[in-house]
Amino acid sequence: MKQSVSKWLVGLTIVFPPLQSFSYAHEPLFMMSHEAPGKGAFDLHAAFHHERHGDETEREFASEFTLGFTRDVALQMSFPYASISEDAPSGLTSKSSFSDPSARIKWRFWDKDLLGKKYAAAFAFQSTIPTGSETGRKKPVFLTGLSHGREGLRWYYFVDTRYRYAVAEADGSRPGDQIWLDAAYGIRPRLRKLEETDVVFFVEVNYLRERPGGLTGGAKNTNSGGDFLFISPEVLISPNNRIMFKGGVQIPIAQSLNGNQEKRGLAVVVEVEFRFGF
């Protein structure tokens, strides 16, 4: 019994993916999407992410930068500070430190502009830069995805598919591979003028299939992974066209877990985005 509890805890401490949302402008907060900021753009984000999984809670503050290299290629960097606390049977433990930075390159390979709307598709690749810090890893985590969407004056849609792969640590432990399918719908109830407060509401549906991870020694962690379905309401508010406040909650609505696991809880993202250069 003791052994299964310890396996379960090991599983918990390695399942969290990088939390950076990397959302840009009117992109939904929990998924990957296609927007590119344009050549010479420079955006600064300050993001807070909270996620609960069983007895483990992770909070992360991140500074994120978006740089527009060309009209269609952007680089995003994230520098997170993470705090992980665990209400384990042996008592509450917590650790906090600067975590692994991430770099994401996005290429919008197709777009079609029409009056008041834009259709586009993009490819993105992301990697963490392992620091080996207390809340980081010693091996990288890769994320790749394809996204497509429509942005309009009145409404939006986004769809994507993402795949996350974490390289096993030297001891053989690793989080399980993740495949995500996401869709989002957004609506702007009232179109405002350029300098007026603009409000957009989104709702995302996120499906996650997570394969079992690996335990120390490389054995399969049968108490990890599963199928998850989330719904994520969000609001994006820009008081003017240079600053945007974003907030969203990811609510698990169905979970089919492998083995003996605690259910996932809510995830929350709050973000502020500043637009600078061009």
Partner: protein, 116 residues
């Protein structure tokens, strides 16, 4: 005699204002496709402001239009405007150069009022 001189000066001023091409305002009306939110329009505004000889810009989201006004007496290369829109991530659907006489007419009206 004094009265006639004043009349002659006003008439001369009016003729100069009406024919004075240096005061005409040159503006460029750009049809911009893909413009879907005020936040995205900021990039377009900043890009267009960097174009040489641009005095001011106004963007109408509903019409998908950017109106660029040139500095007095100057013109703007249309190719530069097209490039700026493209770099900001949008497409140009139309570009029209409009020579406006708004300033001249204004001044003429003011001059006319001065006579009465």
């Amino acid at each position: 005699m004094k009265f006639n001189l004043a009349k002659a000066m006003v008439a001369l001023a009016v003729i100069l204002l009406v024919t004075g091409s240096g005061l005409a305002e040159t503006k460029y009306v750009i049809g911009v496709d893909g413009l879907s939110c005020p936040f995205c329009a900021y990039g377009l505004e900043k890009r267009l402001k960097k174009v040489e000889n641009v005095e001011s810009i106004s963007i109408d989201m509903d019409k998908g239009q950017a109106v660029v006004i040139a500095k007095p007496g100057a013109t703007i290369k249309e190719e530069d405007l097209r490039k700026a829109v493209k770099k900001a991530g949008f497409s140009v659907s139309a570009l029209e150069k409009v020579e406006s006489e708004a300033k001249s007419k204004n001044l003429q009206l003011r001059s006319d009022r001065g006579q009465s």
